[in-house]
């Protein structure tokens, strides 16, 4: 049949006849059993060990509030850092000569591809006492004595930005690729200078993607574990490392579960709020 006939046939007959329900059965069961159930078990563990509302009682615990504040500040700074570094880098990836743009993209992808643990370990080598960074700064006479960065909160900032950057750049980059170059040419033909085109055409187009990327980075940073564990110390626990301490060192699953529940609730609420304003998930039209 011709193409048009095929399409007519498909629409009258109701499509290819695929039953999506059957396809979705296995993934849905898996999600219910292996995603929803463990989360319900977490809630149950917290409630049965420490009672309902224990998650909110945590706000009265100084140690927890301290960790929470530190985590929020860390996440905000990391998100801001990703935006400030990520946007110029993405613009460079798209705006540069093809070969240069490709190299920049490859560098980004290779860091994304390398495990978070390995990357954080590299930062440990850089930032540890008598580490590489300290010795370079010594050589140039910029710093005397110990840099004392290790196990401090500021040490986490460059490392976490490094880890989170690909999560920010990839959605923004995808959005850049979708930018209609005709719009850019129209702007230029009307006499606008490149900076003006940037401000009035490119950045507004990228805004949803930048907001989406920033939201993702923020939510991921709240619960992030590896980098604060390796670069932090017992004096500057984040929510994640505090939970780890409760679980791995104090063997207190109940408190750990309650703290984890708090974290979960915060992230879920954030997600629901942000999703109203910024589309984090896009849905296309169904096939038939």
């Amino acid at each position: 049949m011709g193409l048009l006939r095929v399409r007519q046939w498909a629409s009258t007959r109701g499509g290819v006849g695929v039953r999506p329900g059957l396809l979705l059965l296995l993934p849905l069961i898996a999600t219910l059993l292996f995603l929803v159930l463990p989360l319900a078990a977490l809630v149950d563990r917290s409630v049965s060990d420490q009672g309902i509302g224990a998650a909110f009682d945590l706000l009265g615990d100084d140690l927890f509030v301290d960790a929470l504040k530190r985590t929020l500040v860390l996440s905000l700074i990391v998100t801001f850092g990703c935006c400030v570094i990520g946007v110029p880098y993405t613009l460079a990836m798209v705006g540069a000569r093809r070969s240069v743009g490709l190299v920049l993209l490859l560098i980004l992808l290779s860091t994304f591809w390398i495990s978070i643990l390995v990357r954080t370990f590299g930062w440990v080598l850089l930032l540890q006492p008598a580490g590489a960074l300290e010795q370079v700064l010594h050589k140039f006479g910029l710093v005397s004595g110990s840099l004392d960065l290790f196990q401090t909160t500021p040490a986490m900032y460059p490392a976490m930005v490094h880890v989170m950057l690909p999560f920010f750049i990839l959605p923004v980059y995808a959005s850049c690729l979708r930018l209609d170059t005709d719009l850019l040419r129209a702007g230029q033909s009307l006499g606008a200078k490149p900076l003006s085109v940037l401000r009035h055409v490119v950045l507004p187009h990228l805004r949803p993607a930048i907001l989406a990327g920033a939201s993702i980075v923020f939510m991921l940073s709240l619960g992030f574990f590896v980098t604060p564990l390796l670069l932090g110390g017992p004096d500057n626990l984040t929510v994640a490392t505090l939970i780890n301490r409760q679980f791995s060192e104090l063997y207190d699953l109940g408190t750990a579960a309650t703290m984890a529940l708090f974290l979960l609730i915060v992230v879920l609420v954030l997600y629901l709020v942000i999703d109203r304003f910024v589309p984090l998930v896009q849905s296309g039209a169904p096939d038939t």
Binding site: P27, W113, L125, S248
Partner: protein, 258 residues
């Protein structure tokens, strides 16, 4: 491109590469500590890595877990993507559901699995880890296969159906081959992700020792000798190999006629 932007992006590129590059010389040090600058050209830490039973056991465990995760995540993720592509209702909710594990704090999820595993008596087995990592990797496969499906020619399955093929046949013989690139990419990515996954593996690790990342984490927290640097180079090597395999497979698949 404006010179200021070139300079800035070059600086950022250096920032991105530096922590990774620094591990190379450290892994070749002949010192017993993670000193800088390293006393170069000794492969002793690579030998230490490969000969040490603790590290070899960890590597075994990583592979033992990564293989089932890859199979499960790819199958489930592809089914989810195909099902979603044909779903007429609840599309947004389905998509949110399948992408959700990406947003949920893995820490909370891992503790949840621990609670369930404790009740079911599975604490000493690898299956809680396999299940946990599968669910966390599923969104990746789902997104990759979904975007592969979005680009395909929708008339082909319709043509096949109009020629009388029942819908399972259409799926198996027409749809799946159309997205085999995406499925392959999803599979390779699942393996790489599971191999490097740390949070679930750490919280659910059994007394018999953890996966390679878990071993690296405890080494970094305790002894901190350059074996970790050698292990890191090895892990990077695995990741690079997988990446090269993925690119090679795509090129090869693109050449063979469908």
């Amino acid at each position: 491109m404006a010179p200021a932007l070139s300079l800035v992006s070059a600086a950022i590129a250096v920032y991105l590469l530096l922590p990774v590059l620094i591990i190379f010389p450290v892994s070749l040090t002949s010192d017993a500590f993670l000193t800088w600058p390293p006393d170069l050209a000794s492969f002793r830490w690579f030998s230490a890595f490969f000969d040490n039973p603790a590290w070899a056991h960890a590597l075994e465990k990583s592979i033992e877990i990564a293989l089932p995760v890859t199979v499960l995540a790819t199958v489930l993720g592809t089914a989810a993507a195909l099902g979603h592509s044909y779903a007429r209702h609840w599309r947004r909710s389905l998509q949110t559901l399948f992408v959700a594990p990406f947003i949920i704090p893995v820490l909370a999820y891992a503790l949840g699995i621990y609670s369930v595993a404790g009740r079911v008596g599975l604490v000493a087995s690898i299956w809680p880890i396999v299940i946990g990592q599968t669910m966390v990797t599923l969104p990746l496969v789902f997104l990759i296969v979904s975007s592969g499906l979005a680009g395909r020619d929708r008339d082909l399955p319709r043509a096949a159906a109009s020629l009388g093929a029942p819908w399972p046949r259409v799926l198996w013989s027409v749809e799946l081959p159309l997205v085999r690139n995406a499925i392959l990419a999803g599979g390779l990515l699942s393996f790489a992700y599971s191999f490097d996954e740390i949070v679930i593996a750490y919280f659910l690790s059994t007394a018999g020792g953890g996966t390679l990342p878990v071993q690296m984490l405890s080494a970094a927290n305790e002894a901190a000798d350059p074996t970790i640097a050698a292990a890191s180079i090895f892990v990077m090597g695995v990741a690079m190999t997988i990446g090269i395999l993925a690119v090679a497979a795509r090129t090869w698949l693109a050449r063979t006629p469908q």
